[in-house]
């Protein structure tokens, strides 16, 4: 993996003058903003809008004159507009040794642009009663805008300036570094972070997903590197937009074009290789932390969305630990034994890292009993699967509660973005309940046998647990 990155940098060396570590990641040559302006014709042909009149949302799909693909739900009842933007490629694309680069890029997106310094930009947002912020995930970079519709034009112009002329001033850049320096200290007593780190180091230590900020990587970051990296992360061709609010496609399209006008057309990021957990031996570890409770996390190989067992697993997870009080783990470990305030499980279909995982907290004295209880429940799924009634209950909840995810503008914008990111199709909302309903008892019990074998699960315990025989990491 590491070697592949070096090769990319070497290839880029010939294409670009002066390959900094960063440029190695972008094999394509970013086009200058001037070239983009030519793509936006002043003549406006009628906007072609394809309307998907679904059960949960009437989605209007269109491509703006400037070439940006948008999914919009027009919702006139509240005078607000929510816009989400996302680009494939996130912090896993930080070059080795420059961990934090993607984060410093997104941190600075609302910290000054054009004539406005950080305070000027923040003040302008307040004057418009708007919000604009960006964030970097492992595989995605995203930004969101919310504005009152009466201020939409001004809000979108401000965002446009952030994309076209971000400043990366020393003030906010250094502030980011100070905050992260503090973060390097506080994370060392954060149980969730410690569990994550132990997981990454045990299961995929060589993968970009296991890399993290360090004082060395922070020390290597510069505003120039951030400027270059922004042009690789945030491009026009990979931009996905979803929006919900009191606007029409015709009103929104020019605003989106203005926002995207300053983005480079394209860039190339090295693909992130998938992690195959099925080939990794399960393990157990204790991370010492002086506190009264132990955090227990367990994690095993999961299922991708392209696998026919995805929906059976999704339904099965409800009975395992996804269904709150209707799940067996909560029934046994909370309701019957009073060992925890909460325990839950979830499946993450990746694509890079597919997992089935769960966790909860219990007092240190009962950590051994808690973990034994989790394993015993997993084993019961393998031995005897679920009952017809449990399956029916899971399907009833999962299908019946689906409309609850569509009762606000923000939720609909999020749901649509999820569909776009995972490429599920504009009719996914309408198909989804049928996919859940089609799951059979045979399906879930087959998946139980394959995926819920306790031997497949690694356990990471943070605290000062009793009754566990696993190596302790200080």
């Amino acid at each position: 993996m590491h070697a592949a990155k070096i090769l990319l940098c070497a290839a880029a060396l010939s294409a670009l003058t002066g390959c900094s570590t960063i440029k190695g990641w972008f094999v394509g040559t970013p086009q200058p903003p001037a070239a983009e302006a030519l793509l936006t014709s002043p003549d406006k042909p009628e906007l072609a809008v394809i309307v998907h009149d679904g059960e949960f949302a009437q989605i209007q799909q269109f491509v703006t004159p400037g070439g940006v693909s948008v999914w919009l739900v027009s919702e006139p009842s509240i005078p607000i507009l929510a816009v989400q933007m996302a680009w494939k490629g996130g912090t896993a694309s930080d070059p080795a040794g420059l961990e934090g680069l993607g984060e410093v890029v997104t941190y600075n997106m609302n910290e000054g642009a054009g004539d406005l310094d950080s305070l000027g930009f923040q003040t302008a947002m307040e004057d418009l009663n708007m919000d604009f912020s960006c964030g970097a995930g492992g595989e995605w970079t995203s930004c969101s805008i919310s504005t009152l519709t009466e201020n939409a034009a001004g809000a979108m112009s401000l965002v446009a300036s952030a994309f076209a002329a971000p400043r990366f001033d020393e003030g906010p850049f250094e502030r980011f570094l100070r905050e992260k320096e503090v973060g390097l200290n506080t994370r060392e007593t954060n149980p969730n972070y410690l569990a994550w780190r132990a997981t990454a180091k045990a299961l995929y230590p060589e993968h970009p997903f296991a890399r993290e900020l360090s004082s060395e990587s922070l020390g290597a970051l510069t505003p120039d590197l951030a400027r270059q990296h922004m042009r690789a992360l945030v491009t026009k061709d990979r931009l996905l937009v979803t929006a919900v609010g009191a606007v029409t496609p015709e009103e929104l399209a020019p605003l989106i074009d203005e926002v995207a006008a300053g983005l480079p057309q394209t860039s190339t990021l090295a693909p992130i290789p998938p992690i195959d957990l099925t080939g990794v031996a399960a393990t157990e570890a204790v991370i010492d932390l002086p506190q009264p409770q132990s955090l227990v996390r367990f994690i095993g190989p999961g299922i991708g969305r392209d696998n026919p067992d995805f929906f059976p697993a999704f339904v099965l997870n409800y009975t395992l630990g996804g269904g709150g009080f209707e799940s067996r783990l909560v029934q046994t470990l909370r309701v019957q034994k009073g060992l925890t305030y909460g325990i839950s499980t979830s499946i993450d279909p990746g694509p890079t890292l597919k997992t089935w995982s769960g966790g909860g907290q219990t007092k240190n004295e009962s950590a051994g009993e808690f973990i034994a209880g989790i394993k015993a429940e997993l084993a019961k799924f393998v031995e005897s699967g679920v009952t017809e009634q449990e399956l029916a209950d899971a399907k009833a909840y999962l299908t019946g509660s689906y409309p609850l995810g569509f009762d606000s503008n923000a939720k609909i914008a999020n749901q649509m973005m999820g569909v776009r990111q995972e490429n599920l199709g504009v009719d996914y909302f309408d198909r989804r309940n049928a996919l859940v309903s089609a799951v059979t008892l045979e399906d879930v019990n087959r998946v139980s046998k394959t995926y819920l074998d306790p031997a497949r699960y690694s356990f990471f315990v943070v605290g000062q647990p009793q009754g566990i025989e696993a190596p302790v990491t200080p």
Binding site: F56, S77, I78, P79, I80, A82, S118, L119, Q122, T123, E126, D127, N129, S146, L148, G171, R175, R178, E179, E181, V182, N185, T186, T189, P191, P290, Q291, P292, Q293, G323, G324, F325, E326, Q331, R334, V335, Q336, G338, L339, T340, Y341, G342, S344, Q361, T362, K363, D393, A396, Y397, T399, G400, S401, Y402, P403, L404, F406, D407, S408, N409, A410
Partner: protein
């Protein structure tokens, strides 16, 4: 996770709704048994949020029984005359519903979110447990295991978290002698001693239609809600339960300044804060509005005076902010807090923060920053309308405190009317030099840094 604690610590900062169009205007009416009803139409999705608020909270607990309001809320999910153990949750889930509950000092609320076709079923369930709860006194039964669950909840929320431990101490010191003195979840040893009989007594005293408010938000009309509410709740006889007035009382000013320190090996970043006695929207409505505006200017966000001075210019802090908890019935804290930049002592930080506070109080606010602050608070109310459940909570909480629907509808206009002089006066009144305060230092354990 279900059955949580609202406002146990700084959890609930209600934002208010804007009154813009009559289309979403709430309706209110009262059933013949005294149960108040609020309907908040929102026709964007075929979904409703159904909430029952009881006008009882941790402030009403008897001495030595801290935590009963919250533990009892857990017990409400266990068993009724007509519903076996766990059946309540099972019916809600099979109906495609999500349910939860939370307890504050001032109220206890239960809710279900469902497709609108299931609203009647949810009302039937809530009505059932309003009158027919069964509290099992089996020592291995659900009351005892829920008590253990609450102890785990306390460990998870407070005892695992040095910042929460210190905050609990600071709030107790601020509210010394007031019913808010003990945190909602209660003292560990008092929770451990609560009995099924305590639960039954609490239920008998406080759970009745006249002591409850029904809030339904979502894809319904007032007429639909009225018909269903009459059918399910209207049949419950007016309460025979008697209880005295709420134990609310004005919070006495602090008579001395106290320094609390908490050192813990888990602390890797110190924190400095001062808790002054603030005001509440119920008791001092005008002052509370003005204080919210003033603290937005002084320490509300990145453009605030404290952030710009301490974080941006002097670079002595990584955070600096002010906040007033005005949404409790009685007076809550107004807090100034800051976290030092690497290498800066709390003493240096404190001196710089207080110098800036004093400078602002002496020089006053610019009109433009006050306009920005009040417009932000007014706009937050419009954004808040996007959340159906958030709206139901805003109205339910305010009505449970004895407030009126009109107060919420009038909030944007009221907050826009706050003048720079009023905002400044409200901040000066709370942080005046002669006021006592609780100062809290969160520190790494000795030798840890």
């Amino acid at each position: 996770m279900k059955r949580s604690l609202a406002a146990g610590l700084f959890a609930l900062f209600a934002s208010y709704a804007a009154a813009e169009e009559a289309a979403w205007a709430p309706s209110t009416f009262t059933l013949s048994n005294g149960m108040d009803v609020v309907v908040l139409p929102d026709h964007r999705a075929p979904v409703v949020t159904h909430m029952v608020w009881y006008k009882v909270g941790a402030a009403d607990e008897a001495p030595g029984k801290s935590g009963i309001a919250h533990l009892f809320e857990h017990v409400m999910f266990q068993e009724t005359k007509n519903l076996g153990p766990g059946e309540f949750d099972k019916i809600v889930s099979r109906s495609g519903g999500q349910n939860n509950a939370f307890t504050s000092w001032d109220y206890t609320a239960y809710f279900e979110r469902v497709h609108k076709a299931q609203l009647g079923t949810m009302m039937g369930l809530e009505a059932e447990r309003m009158v027919n709860l069964v509290i099992n006194d089996d020592p291995k039964g659900p009351f005892i295991s829920e008590r253990d669950v609450v102890k785990e909840e306390r460990r998870q929320r407070i005892e695992n978290n040095p910042g929460a431990i210190l905050q609990e101490k600071a709030l107790s010191a601020l509210w010394k002698g007031h019913p808010y003195e003990i945190t909602v979840i209660g003292k560990m040893e008092e929770v451990a001693a609560l009995t099924p009989q305590d639960g039954l007594d609490f239920y008998t005293e406080y759970y009745s239609p006249a002591n409850a408010i029904l809030v339904v938000a979502g894809d319904v009309t007032p007429d639909e809600v009225r018909a269903l509410a009459e059918e399910h709740y209207g049949a419950i006889p007016a309460s025979g339960a008697e209880h005295g007035p709420r134990k609310w009382q004005s919070v006495a000013p602090l008579t001395e300044t106290v320094l609390l320190t908490h050192a813990d090996p888990k602390v890797r970043q110190p924190n400095w804060s001062r808790y002054y006695l603030g005001v509440s929207q119920r008791r001092q409505p005008d002052d509370a509005l003005a204080l919210d505006v003033g603290l937005e200017v002084l320490g509300g966000g990145m453009t605030s005076r404290l952030y710009q001075s301490l974080v941006e210019q002097q670079q002595l802090a990584i955070s600096a902010s002010t906040f007033a908890w005005t949404t409790l019935h009685d007076e809550g804290p107004a807090v100034i807090s800051a976290s030092p930049a690497p290498g800066v002592t709390l003493e240096t930080l404190e001196a710089a923060v207080m110098a800036e506070v004093e400078k602002v109080l002496a020089e006053g606010f610019a009109e433009a920053e006050v306009i920005r602050a009040r417009n932000k608070l007014a706009a937050d109310a419009i954004y808040g309308r996007d959340s159906q459940s958030g709206m139901a909570e805003t109205f339910g909480a305010w009505l449970a405190l004895g407030g009126k629907v009109e107060d919420i509808l009038g909030y944007p206009d009221a907050v826009r009317a706050v003048t720079p002089e009023e905002a400044l006066a409200a901040v000066r009144a709370v942080f005046a030099p002669e006021k006592h305060y609780i100062e809290a230092h969160l520190l790494p354990a000795e030798g840890d840094l």
